[in-house]
Each structure stands twice: as C-alpha cells, then as structure tokens.
Symmetry: C2
Subunit: 195 residues, 2 copies
DNA sequence: AGGATAAATGAATTATGATTCAAAAATAAT
DNA sequence: ATTATTTTTGAATCATAATTCATTTATCCT
C-alpha cells in the first residue's frame, strides 16, 4: 500500500499562514495554499474538511500554546504580578518574532473563524483570558497594581495594543525594531507617558 | 423626468455599515445591503462602482472626519499635549459611541480596502497620523511627555488599544460601560498601572 | 394629456473558486 | 511480479453572489 510521506498537515498549516497573511482568508485560494505546501489542490481536503477548518486549526494551535504558557507562568510563586505581566508581553513578542506572518493572521483573521462553542480555539482562548485576569486580580489584591484599574479594560487595552503593534511590525519589519516596541509597552504600562 | 427622492447614497452607506458589522465585508451580500437600505439590488450600482467602493466611502468619510477633528485640535494653543491626547481619546469614544456598528467596521474591515495611493481614505489617514505624531512630538519637546517614549510605538499602542476596546464594547455593549473604558485608557497612559 | 428624460428595478448573466471524485501512483505483503 | 490497499492527483462539478442591463416607473415640461 501507499504510505504517507512527510507531515502534510503541518505543511498545509505553514503554507496557509503565509497565504492568509498575504491575501487574507477570503482572497486566499486553496490552490495557492496547496501549491505553497507542494501538494495538489485536492490533497488539502484529505487533511482538512474545508478552508475554514484550516484557519481553525491555526488558531487552535496558537491559543493552545498561549494558554499553556500563561498557565505555567501563573503557577510560578517566585514572580510578582508585574513580573508576570512583563513575561506575558515577552511571550507575545517572542512567539511572533519567529513568525511574522502568524502575527498578521492572528490579528486580522480571528474574525473569520467559526464561533461554535465546541471549537477548541474558543476553549483555549477562554482559559487564557481567565488566567490573564487572574494574574491582574492577584496584582491588585497583593497591592502592586492600582485598584482603580478595571481588569477587563486593562486586558482589552494591553491585548489590543500588542495586537496592533505586532501587525504593523510584521507588515513592515524594517520600520521599527520589535525590541523598541517591547520596551515601550513595558514602559507605558508601568509608568505611563509623563516625565 | 423621474427625479431622485431622499438620499440613497447615505442610505446605502448606513445600511452597509450595519451589514458589514454583522457579517463582515466578504459575507455581506449586496442584496442584503440594498434590502436594508430599502432599495433594489441594482440600485446600489447607480451610486457605487462595486462593493469595495462602498467600503472605501465609509472609510473615506470616517478618516476625513477624524482628520478634520485632530487637525482643529492640534491648532489650539490653549491645550498642552496631554490635554490634546485626552481630547483625542474622547474623540474616538464619542464618534463610536453614537455608532457602535461603525466601530466594528472600522476595526475589522480596513484590511479589505484597496490600498491604491490615490484613495482618499489613505490620504486622510496619513494626514491624521502626521498630526497625531506632531502632537506627541510637541509633548516631548515641551517636556510634558517622557522622551524615552518612542512616538511611533506609542501611536501603535494607543490606537491598537482603543480599536480593540471599541470593537469589544460594540459587540457586547452590556458587558462594560464605554466610560469605564475611556477612564481606564486615560489612567493607564498617564500614570501606568502601578499603585 | 402626451412625450421626454432620468431613476429605479430585479431577473439573467457571469465569474470565481471551493469542493468532489474517478483515476493514477506508490509501496507493502505475498 | 502480482495483488491489495492507501495516498495523491487535478480536472470537472457546483454553488454562490457580484454585476449588468432590458424593462418599468415616476415626474417634469410643453
């Protein structure tokens, strides 16, 4: 019998990240993804139900990784809340520094995912948010974070700021070094922008 | 001769904002936009070249307004840089408070616009950015803003944070009041999150 | 009241690209 | 070397919805 060679599922996912980043989900053609992955169009359907399932898997893997990392971070007792938030910021920059195209997909294509509540990406995303808010709440209860900060509002602001930075950086990497962005985020959330 | 009644172009734009917000640009059907506007499918094409031109016009109007306002703000000599930034934040919240659907379109659909450099929305966007960076640079040169802040990085972070907040608020307005978001943005950028 | 003109309609056309599936290719087993 | 089984291919099918345009409608003008 014929036997599978290589890891075509992973090849498809890598190719899809590139193509989605370049063209966006709706303008991305299965044909182009297949070509980029070095396989035939029809083969994509041996590994994924349809185009949306490819996007879903990308987000499932990504949120799965993010959740795993934040969860481990949250269990460390040697770090205070601010340190943890800094590590979280580094986590985002580190993941996307390696894969700028993934940043573009992450920021722009989540809106095209199905939102059925048995989708794994949603589960991981919820768990991530839970841990993120726990981290902040801990900072407030231990007295290192200003209790006037609303946890939800800060989450939106930080995550939104990071997303937009990463998207812009990924689209024009020469314009600004990712480490300048990283340092500025930390500076702004810690001290604000006043002298 | 037959004569135009009402303002169908405006009706189409209003309808399109609703439909784009609900379904996203690519899943939005011209038929649905027309129906929402109370006209026939074909009539949309009497006012716009195609679907993309409708989205373009929405962004042209929006960035046009944003530019007009920031430009007036920047000319005021009675406000220091921090005050101006606060007014700018209020500007965003005020515009989108009136039209939550517009916030959703603003955040999620800019990626589907054409980027031909003679598009007016691009021009307005560039002018807006120019004025925004001028505002920050002025804050640094007059000594109210920390010179370690990178202007570009701060712009990304603030704009990204605002966008994500507004998008989430617009999609679930009961979850969190827009004024809590507004106050938190101001608090965070001014003082940071430490106690 | 009838003609001229512009606006509006919506069914027919058309383009695109996702998905399917019959056929071909590869290799393990005998 | 032949067969059985599984993988892979890519051209044909199919669905969708954007766009067009022949026809209809409305109202101004004389």
């Amino acid at each position: 019998m014929r036997v599978k060679e290589g890891n075509k599922e992973a090849d498809i996912l890598d190719a899809a990240i590139k193509v989605f980043a370049k063209s966006g989900f709706h303008n991305a053609k299965i044909y182009t993804i297949a070509e980029t992955a070095g396989i035939a169009t029809g083969s994509v359907y041996l590994y994924f139900r349809n185009k949306e399932a490819v996007l879903n898997k990308i987000f499932e893997n990504l949120w799965g990784q993010l959740y795993k990392e934040i969860s481990e971070l949250n269990q460390r007792s040697d770090l205070n809340a601010i340190d943890k938030i800094y590590y979280l910021i580094d986590l985002f920059f580190d993941i996307f520094f390696e894969k700028p195209e993934l940043a573009i997909v992450f920021v722009n294509e989540q809106t095209n995912l199905s939102h059925a509540k048995d989708d794994l990406w949603i589960r991981y995303n919820e768990l991530f948010i839970e841990d993120g808010e726990k981290m902040l709440a801990e900072g407030i209860s231990t007295g290192v974070i200003n209790p006037n900060i609303n946890v939800r509002a800060f989450r939106y602001f930080l995550l939104g700021g990071l997303r937009y930075m990463l998207d812009n950086w990924a689209k024009d990497q020469k314009a600004l070094s990712i480490n300048v962005l990283r340092q500025n985020v930390k500076l702004i959330i810690k001290k604000g922008i006043l002298v």
